[in-house]
Every structure is written in structure tokens, then in C-alpha cells.
Amino acid sequence: MTTTACGPDHILCTRDLRRDFGGVQALCGVELHVVRGSITGLIGPNGSGKTTMFQVISGMDRGATGSVMFDREEILGRRPSTIYHRGLARTFQLSHVFPDLTVLENLVVAGSRKDRSVEERALGLLGRVHLQDYAPVLGKNLSYGQQKLVEFLRVLMSDPALILLDEPAAGVNPTLRQTLWDMVRHLNGLGTSFLIIEHNMEVVSDLCSDVYVLSEGSVIARGAFDAIREDEQVLEAYFGKTREPRAGRGAPS
């Protein structure tokens, strides 16, 4: 693995990021760079440290050491709300919609206090995914897929420069899933950067220009999806053995 220097074209750089939980190393000096305007994938087997990375980068977990530079500013140890207002937003693996707030309130609370047209903005976002009629419905009364979509729309309220998506399509039906990926592509076209944890390799291959593979808290491969899917270390991390000579498309799948 070669080390990339953090430059102005990177919106996020982590350096020597370490986190341990009672002696268990969840992150072992992770170096990760997200190029401005890119969609970067973060993959790896269960327990490899992907969600811990998100927790640390977003400020939810402030027990890590190392460095997290966002837009050339150190954010490690900052409060999540401060990081959010600087332009880095994230979604959770499991839906975290506010259950007893309406869909509209769920979005408005994530908007700027100074924005006088925050409700119009929220309704506009709901309209883009045909959820505007759900504005007065309580979060808990939505289907799980709708909740995940509302959670995604919620982070858009702050117009973030970088969005961390933690398995955004898990538990979402195919139609809503397509809506979600279309929005990601659309926003990326407008300049928003993404770092995505996703288990569906077809989606990773389709969306991500750059992919990092984590295993046991370390980056074991990085590059274009086509390159990393042939990587022996990646195959071993996923399947626990070196791949046998084979025909056809490569794993992981």
C-alpha cells in the first residue's frame, strides 16, 4: 500500500487513525483519502471497522487518536454538531428517524436556524422523491425504506460537502433503492462528495471511483473496484483463503 499525501483535491484525509476498545484494536492506523467530488466506497467483512471509521470521522466516537482532516481542517475530537455545521453529514446503518416528529419536522430540525425558508426547502426535497404528501406523518408511521430515505433527505438539509452513507440501501425496497442511488448520482454531479459503506458490490462497482477495503481495522487494499476485486488480500479477508484459479468474474460479490 502506498501512502497518498493529503492535498487540496482531497476533501477528507485520515492519518494514523487508531481506536481500541479495551485492548481490541478496531482501527489500526487507518489512512484514507476522499477526493473532492468523488464517490468513494468503503468495504470490508463484518467487524472490519467500517462503522467505527464513520463514528470517529463524524465525531460520535471521540476516543480515537490520529488525525481527521476535513476540508483542510482538523476535526478529530470535535462535537458531531460542529462537524455537521462544517459540512460533513452522515446517515446511520439502522434508521435513526425521529419517531414522534413528523416527516417535515424531521427535515426542518436538520436545516439551518438562520434559514427562513427551511420548510420550503424540506418540502422541495420531499417532493423530489415523491414523499411530499407524507410531510405531516409521524416518522414512526413510515415504512422502513421510507424512513431510510427520509434520513438521507435529512442530511441534505445542510447542503453538506461530504456525506457518509452507512449501508443506505439496507432494508430498502428496489424502487426506493433506485431513487436513493439516482439522488446520490445527481448530487455527486452537483459536486457533493460521498463516502459509502455498501455490501452490494454491483452498486460499489457502478458508483464508486475509488474503493478502500478494510480488514481487522487496517486498509488492505485501495483503488478502482476492478483492481481490488482481484486483490489476493481482499479475497482472503472475505473468504478466509487465497482464491483458487478460476474462470468468470471475480469475487467479492
Binding site: 462535537r79 454538531s81 425521529f98 416528529l101 426542518v108 430540525v109 409521524l138 408511521n141 445542510s158
Partner: protein, 316 residues
């Protein structure tokens, strides 16, 4: 929903008019009774602001009531006019709440509840041991010539109940209130969408201490005698919680309905069943909490949200 807003405004104004004119046609007994209802409304609304809105259940809000009561009584004895003693009682409780909020609101769930319970105990023990200032367990008696009239206390308590209700109504509809409710729903997610949870919780806590402080001062003047057990009373705190839960926690009307119904029920049951009235009241409260977890208000006014798919057309 502008219609409901106007209905609430009209109903609130009518109730306020009724309360303001009540001393003209009710005797001292009923004035005293209504004063106690107003006291419970004010305390209930104050508790509602932190516990109903953010979900941080406080078992020690009577600490601020006790501090206000002692501050009011001592200031009155020191020659301050009654109204200044009331204002200062609220102010002292508010100032005390700033460091306490910063300390205790780092804790969550049952830890915060226990810390607040401990705070009330600290207040009670301090008032008992600091005999030079508080006369310890003997308490403080206020001479009748220092005290405002029953009618003055009545209007003071009514003013505090109204102020507390208006604060809660304003906060509920404000962006600040929305952020508090988001904290109640999911604090992690609230922080993650930019809500400064610490600042919001401390602000709500400090605001919620102001009213009990002032109410405590009026209470001292109304009863003319206070001691550590009467004002730093865990039983009073339980009553406040019960009243808010009975009416509807986290709502504007809940503490009003809860205080009105519980106090009237208590009075009626006491008159009919003097030996068993508290047990009967307990059974009624249990039934409401079990079968109407949203309080009586949820029975009167169900929120107009059912299943999403029964309300709106299906999305693709």
C-alpha cells in the same frame, strides 16, 4: 394548524379570565384551593420543559422550589418587598441551575434522574444543617405583618402559572422546542444533524428552574412557615410528575389538565373517603398511566397521524 392555534388561544384566554375573576365570587377556601392548582400548574409546566420536552426525567426539581422558598422567606425577613423576594427567589434558582445543569446533564436516563434526586436531598440536608441561616429543622416562620394577602398570593401564583404556560407554549412551537423534542426522540441523531444537545439541554434546564424558584417564594409567603421537609419534598416532586403524566407529558395543555383533574379528584376523594382517598387516587393514576400513556390529553385530542399508508397515497 391555525384553527387549533386559535382555539387554544381562545380557550386559554377564557380560562385566564375565569381565574382572574374567581376571587370576586369564591370564598377564601376555594381561593386557597385554586392557588394550589396554579402552583401545581406552574411546577408541572416547569418540569415539562426539561423532562417532557427532552425526556430527561428530573426527580429533584423541588430542589429549586426549596431554594426559592428559603430565598423568598429570608429576603422577606431582611425587609425586601414581597414581589422582589419572589423575583429574586426565581433568579437565585436560575443561577444555581447553570452549573448544576452543566454537571448533571452529562448524565443520561436513570443516572440523571438519580443525580437530581440526590440534588434535592443535598438541598434538604443543607437547609437542615445550616442553622444560622435557615434555623435548621425548626424552619422559618414569617410574621403576618410581613406577608402579602391571600388575594395577592393568589394573583402571584396565577401569574406564575400563566407565565410558565406561555413559556412552554412558545418553546413548543419554536425551533428551540423542535430541537428539544428531537433530543427526546434520539439524542445521537439530533447531535448528528447539527443540534447542540448540551447547550439546548442546559438552556431548557435553566429555564425550568426559574419558575419553581419563584413559586417556592410565593409558597413560603402563602403558608407563612417553611421547613426543610416541607419544601425539599420528594413527595411534591412525585406529585408534579404524576400531574404531568396524567395530563400529557411534553404538551402545553397536559400540565393544565393534569393539575386541574388531579387536584379536584384529590379534594373530592378526600371529602368522601378521608381514610382511603390517596389509595383511590393512586388506582386512578395507575389506570391512566397504563391505559393512556399519552395522558388524558391523548384521549381528548389524538394527534391526526395514523399509519402513513392510510393517510396518503402510496409512493412508488
Amino acid at each position: 394548524m391555525p384553527n387549533r392555534k386559535y382555539k387554544d388561544l381562545w380557550l386559554g384566554t377564557a380560562l385566564l379570565m375565569l381565574a382572574m375573576t374567581a376571587p370576586l365570587y369564591v370564598n377564601d377556601y376555594y381561593q386557597s384551593f385554586l392557588l394550589q392548582v396554579f402552583m401545581m400548574i406552574a411546577l408541572g409546566q416547569a418540569w415539562n420543559l426539561i423532562s417532557g420536552m427532552t425526556g430527561y426525567v428530573s426527580f429533584g426539581h423541588t430542589a429549586f422550589f426549596g431554594v426559592g422558598a428559603y430565598a423568598g422567606a429570608l429576603l422577606l425577613l431582611a425587609g425586601f418587598p414581597w414581589w422582589l423576594a419572589v423575583l429574586k427567589g426565581g433568579g437565585i434558582a436560575l443561577l444555581l441551575a447553570i452549573p448544576l445543569g452543566l454537571l448533571t446533564l452529562r448524565l443520561r436516563g436513570p443516572y440523571f434522574a438519580i443525580a437530581m434526586l440526590g440534588l434535592n436531598e443535598v438541598g434538604r440536608i443543607a437547609a437542615t444543617l445550616w442553622t444560622d441561616l435557615t434555623h435548621g429543622g425548626d424552619g422559618i416562620s414569617l410574621a403576618p405583618d410581613l406577608l402579602p394577602s391571600l388575594r395577592t398570593n393568589y394573583f402571584s401564583m396565577l401569574t406564575l402559572a400563566t407565565t410558565a404556560t406561555l413559556i412552554v407554549a412558545y418553546v413548543y412551537r419554536s425551533r428551540f422546542g423542535l430541537e428539544l423534542r428531537a433530543i427526546r426522540e434520539d439524542e445521537e441523531a439530533a447531535e448528528m444533524v447539527g443540534v447542540n444537545t448540551v447547550a439546548n439541554k442546559v438552556m431548557a434546564f435553566v429555564l425550568s428552574a426559574l419558575i419553581p424558584g419563584a413559586v417556592g417564594a410565593v409558597y413560603a409567603m402563602y403558608t407563612s412557615y417553611i421547613n426543610p421537609q416541607s419544601v425539599f419534598s420528594p413527595a411534591l416532586n412525585i406529585q408534579i410528575i404524576v400531574i404531568v403524566l396524567f395530563g400529557g407529558s411534553g404538551t402545553v395543555w397536559g400540565p393544565l389538565i393534569g393539575a386541574g383533574v388531579v387536584m379536584v379528584l384529590r379534594e373530592l376523594l378526600w371529602a368522601q373517603f378521608p381514610a382511603a382517598h390517596l389509595a383511590l387516587l393512586g388506582v386512578l393514576l395507575l389506570a391512566v398511566v397504563l391505559y393512556l400513556p399519552g395522558g388524558l390529553l391523548s384521549f381528548v385530542r389524538a394527534r391526526p397521524q395514523g399509519r402513513a399508508d392510510s393517510q396518503v397515497r402510496k409512493t412508488p
